[in-house]
Symmetry: C2
Subunit: 187 residues, 2 copies
C-alpha cells in the first residue's frame, strides 16, 4: 500500500479549489458534489467558472446548518485566479504524473489551489499549472479524484465539528442521530 502523500509531523496545507467549465444547466449536481467534497475535507473555498449563484447559495445554506466558513466564489477570469494564486497550483488530470510521484512536492507546499476541469479542459491549463497530477491513469470522476487527493494531502475529513454548526452528527452503529444546537445547549 503506498504511503500517504504528507509525511508525519508536517502541517496540513490550506486548500482552495477552482472548478472550470461548469455548465449550469447540465452539471449542477456534479459541481455541488465537488463543492461538498471540498468543504468536507476542510478546503476554504471553491472558485467557480463560470459563476453560478444557485450553487453558491446552496453551499452557503450547508455552511449555515453544518458549520464552518466554506464558500463558493464565482469567477469570470479563471486565468487571473490561477496566475495570482500565492502557492502551488495543482491541476487534477488523468494525463498527469501520479500522485505518489509528486507527493514530495506536495508535502513542501503550505497553500494549494486544486484545479478541477469539466468536460473540456482549456489546453493552456497544463502549462499554467505548477503540477499536473493524476489520481490513477484511468477515466475517472473529478469528484472522486478530488476527494482522494484532499484525503491524501489533508489527512482525512476533520474529526472536530465545524465552527458554528446548528447540527452535528452523533456517530452510530445503526440508524441516524443528529444533535441540534438547541438540544446540545440543554446538556
Amino acid at each position: 500500500m503506498p504511503s500517504r502523500a504528507r509525511p508525519k509531523g508536517r502541517g496540513v496545507p490550506s486548500v482552495e479549489l477552482l472548478r472550470l467549465g461548469h455548465r449550469a444547466g447540465r452539471d449542477p449536481r456534479l459541481t455541488t458534489h465537488l463543492a461538498l467534497v471540498a468543504r468536507a475535507f476542510g478546503a476554504r473555498r471553491m472558485y467557480l467558472h463560470p459563476p453560478d449563484p444557485a450553487i453558491a447559495e446552496r453551499l452557503a445554506a450547508v455552511a449555515r446548518r453544518w458549520g464552518g466558513a466554506f464558500e463558493v466564489v464565482g469567477v469570470d477570469d479563471w486565468r487571473r485566479t490561477v496566475r495570482e494564486f500565492d502557492g502551488l497550483v495543482v491541476h487534477l488530470t488523468m494525463y498527469g504524473l501520479s500522485l505518489e510521484r509528486v507527493a514530495p512536492r506536495l508535502a513542501r507546499a503550505s497553500h494549494l489551489l486544486v484545479v478541477v476541469g469539466g468536460a473540456k479542459v482549456p489546453p493552456a491549463l497544463y502549462g499554467l499549472a505548477g503540477v499536473n497530477v493524476a489520481v490513477g491513469h484511468q477515466p475517472h470522476s473529478e469528484v472522486g479524484a478530488a476527494a482522494v487527493f484532499l484525503d491524501r494531502v489533508r489527512g482525512g475529513v476533520p474529526a472536530s465539528e465545524f465552527v458554528g454548526a446548528e447540527c452535528t452528527i452523533v456517530p452510530r452503529a445503526r440508524g441516524k442521530s443528529v444533535r441540534t444546537a438547541r438540544s446540545r445547549s440543554r446538556r
Copy 2:
C-alpha cells in the same frame, strides 16, 4: 494524519458495489461517476438498483477501451443482493461510525460489498448492513465518499494497466499522451 485502513502485508480485499435508489432521469451522470470510481479503484462490478441498461452499456464501452472486466449489473431485488453476499456488507453513510474506527474490521475482511445510497436510503439498510461507515460526518458526495473508502481499503488506484486495454495513458508533466494497442505493438 490517520493511518491507512489496511495494515501493511495484508492482502487487498475484493470489492463490489451496490448503488441504491438510482433515478434514471435524474442521476445518470452521478451514477456514471460512481461506476467510474469503482472501476478505477479495481472493484469487480457495481450492482445497480433499479437497473439502467444505458449506464451498463456506457461502462462496458469504457472497459473495452481502457481494459479490465468491470461491469454494471442491474438488480431488481437489492435486499437479495445484500442478503446473499458472501462477505462484509459496508453501508456508506454520514451517520455511521468513522472509517478510522471500523478500520480493524475492514482489515480482516477479504470480500466487501460497498452499499451506496441515493437521495433516500431505505431505513432497513442500516440493519441489513454488517457495518455502517462514515467518511467524515459532514454532508458529502457519495461519489467522493466511495472514492476515499476504496482508496483506503484498496491502497490506491492500481498502477498496472488494466488487462486488454486498447488505450493506456503515458503519464506526462505537461499535456496528454495516450498509447493505443496498435502503436504499442510497433515498439
